[in-house]
């Protein structure tokens, strides 16, 4: 119990550090941040506008006061207002977050469904044709950047074969079938690269488990191949897969930024990219804080799962 509390506390500290750093980042910028934010067109900013934005962002007040204000806002899930259209950043994130999670969820599912069976099959037939072919394919799939894969998928499936539209979004409640169709290609773009990683780890950890005593015992007991694979090999070989999967969550969230942009999927990253382009500071920091918090939360969850399945971790 103490271990779980300590891990939870560490996650909270991490979150606090990130909030503080993101808060500080605008003050690290040499010169006046507001003038810098406004100066993208080359000309110097209108002093009245600078003054107005400074008041909007609260930059005219003492730094400690701003910081306390920021923390208070965060405690009630208020991430401030967009500098572009004055809409609430939190509300916009709440609207878009489920779509990003949906994308990540399906991508993860695809990668596990392809990667684990392929990994086990390759490990049980090492050096054979499937194993060698799959290793090459995995190397390729792991190397190709997600946005290149996504772009090529569009080129082939919507431009040349005219099977689906090039991207976009329809609410699930309006047209479930169309929604899933549109979700499929972006999920595949992320899922294929991830499947390659899952494949490699599953293959390697299965190979490590295969010569162990309990597998031999199971075989000596006269168990069938299917039962040995499912109950004895798979269970033990999956532990490293979970670890690596957790480590990949960060790059997965990064990958969604590019893929959502490619497929025009209105998740968090469309918001992030347009925020960066418009130098909309509250929007950018809001999205980054939410994604970082998600990352920390997921890592904590994996740690807890770990501690539950393997008590040795909780020393």
């Amino acid at each position: 119990m103490f271990w779980f509390l300590r891990r939870g506390f560490a996650s909270l500290v991490m979150l606090w550090v990130i909030v503080t750093l993101v808060f500080m980042s605008i003050h690290f910028v040499p010169g006046d941040p507001v003038e810098l934010l406004l100066s993208q067109d080359g000309g110097s900013a209108d002093p009245a506008t600078v003054q107005m934005i400074r008041e909007d962002l609260g930059l005219n007040r003492p730094i400690i006061e701003q910081y306390v204000e920021k923390l208070k806002g965060l405690a009630s899930f208020d991430l401030g207002r967009s500098m572009v259209d004055d809409s609430s950043v939190s509300a916009e994130i709440a609207r878009r977050l489920p779509r990003t999670l949906e994308l990540i969820g399906l991508a993860a599912l695809i990668s596990l469904v392809i990667g684990i069976p392929a990994g086990i099959y390759a490990a049980l037939h090492t050096g054979r044709r499937f194993d060698r072919a799959a290793s090459y394919v995995a190397g390729f799939a792991q190397g190709i950047p997600v946005f290149v894969l996504g772009t090529l998928l569009i080129l082939v499936f919507s431009q040349m074969l005219k099977l689906t539209s090039a991207g976009g979004f329809v609410a699930f409640s309006q047209a479930p079938g169309k929604h899933m169709m549109l979700l499929l290609m972006p999920s595949l773009s992320i899922g294929i690269g991830l499947a390659a990683i899952v494949f490699r780890i599953t293959r390697a950890s299965t190979l490590e488990v295969l010569p162990l005593d309990y597998v031999r015992t199971a075989r000596a007991k006269g168990l069938g191949d299917r039962r040995i694979v499912l109950h004895h090999i798979l269970r033990n070989a999956l532990i490293p897969v979970i670890t690596i999967f957790a480590l990949q969550i960060g790059s997965l969230l990064g990958g969604t930024v590019l893929v959502e942009y490619v497929f025009n999927w209105p998740g968090l990253s469309g918001m992030l990219v347009s925020g960066v382009n418009a130098r909309d500071y509250p929007t950018v920091t809001g999205v980054i804080l939410v994604i970082s918090a998600l990352l920390i939360g997921l890592n904590f969850l994996v740690d807890v799962l770990y501690g539950l399945t393997d008590p040795r971790v909780r020393k």
């Binding site: 991490m14 605008i26 190397g143 190709i144 950047p145 946005f147 290149v148 390697a204 930024v257 950018v284």
Partner: protein
């Protein structure tokens, strides 16, 4: 260690290809190539010809020449960022591993914090604050990859710091700086070189992603990510405008990855066993 023989083997192919890439991109400005920025609006979307082997883009610029210069830009950014990250990260890791105590604690916590951010997001935060362009790009990519160097250097220093040869140099009265950088550093170079090659490979991917979003290398400078990004607009008229940079980028990444794997197997055989790949 059979890898040191000079005989040609298939495993050396990535190294040769990488050498070719480096030579071509280093020499690109002096090679008899056209100007990558020279426009020829009369020949927009022109197909392949004797003068323009891969055809011309939406401004009539030569695609092949632009690919060469884009590869060059990618590699310049990647190497610059990796060198910067390598120097800072290694110094921090060696210092942390050698002096232990408070320095170690502070350095390793700093690393943990940087690792909290997905690399792409950290880069985007920096672009918001400082604006896009190479002056932002290189330091940001460097910061993103400092932690991995620090971790590798730190772990390696811990494993050699109490060995006899280090003790010997210290007992001869060598200064701490001398022990750290001329005794320990050469002995932990293997894993660091491997880390460097991985960093270059990952940086190429990250840079192309940022440029694709329009937040990295700025037009009209050629960049593979940027070419893919703008090629999407003319997908229907000129699909090859998209296919070439996609192919060039993927090929470069695959070559770099293959080279890294090979280098790791040679220089750092222990880690490849641990990672089980």
């Amino acid at each position: 260690m059979t890898g040191t023989s000079l005989k040609f083997t298939p495993r050396q192919i990535p190294a040769y290809l990488l050498a070719l890439l480096l030579v071509v991109s280093l020499l690109a400005p002096v090679l008899p190539l056209q100007d990558p920025l020279a426009m020829d609006t009369a020949a927009r979307f022109a197909g392949p010809s004797a003068q323009h082997l891969f055809g011309q883009d939406e401004f009539g610029r030569d695609i092949l020449v632009r690919l060469v210069f884009a590869l060059r830009n990618s590699l310049i950014v990647a190497f610059a960022a990796a060198i910067l990250a390598g120097v800072i990260g290694t110094a921090l890791g060696v210092l942390a591993g050698y002096s232990r105590g408070l320095t170690e604690m502070l350095a390793m916590r700093f690393i943990d914090i940087v690792l909290c951010f997905p690399p792409l997001l950290l880069a985007m935060l920096a672009v918001t604050l400082y604006g896009p362009g190479p002056v932002t790009l290189i330091p940001v990519l460097a910061i993103v990859f400092v932690p991995s160097f620090t971790r590798v250097a730190h772990a390696s220093v811990l494993s050699v710091r109490s060995q006899d040869y280090v003790e010997a140099v210290r007992s001869m009265g060598a200064s701490n700086a001398r022990v750290m950088f001329s005794t320990i550093l050469p002995n932990i170079a293997g894993p660091l070189i491997v880390q460097f090659s991985f960093t270059v490979a990952v940086t190429v991917v990250l840079e192309s992603g940022l440029s694709f979003l329009g937040l990295g290398v700025l037009p009209p400078a050629p960049s593979l990510g940027l070419m893919i990004g703008t090629g999407r607009a003319t997908l229907a008229q000129a699909p090859m405008l998209l296919v070439w940079p996609c192919a060039a980028l993927t090929a470069m990444i695959l070559i770099l990855n293959a080279f890294c794997d090979d280098l790791r197997d040679r220089l750092d055989p222990k880690s490849s066993k641990i990672r089980g790949q």
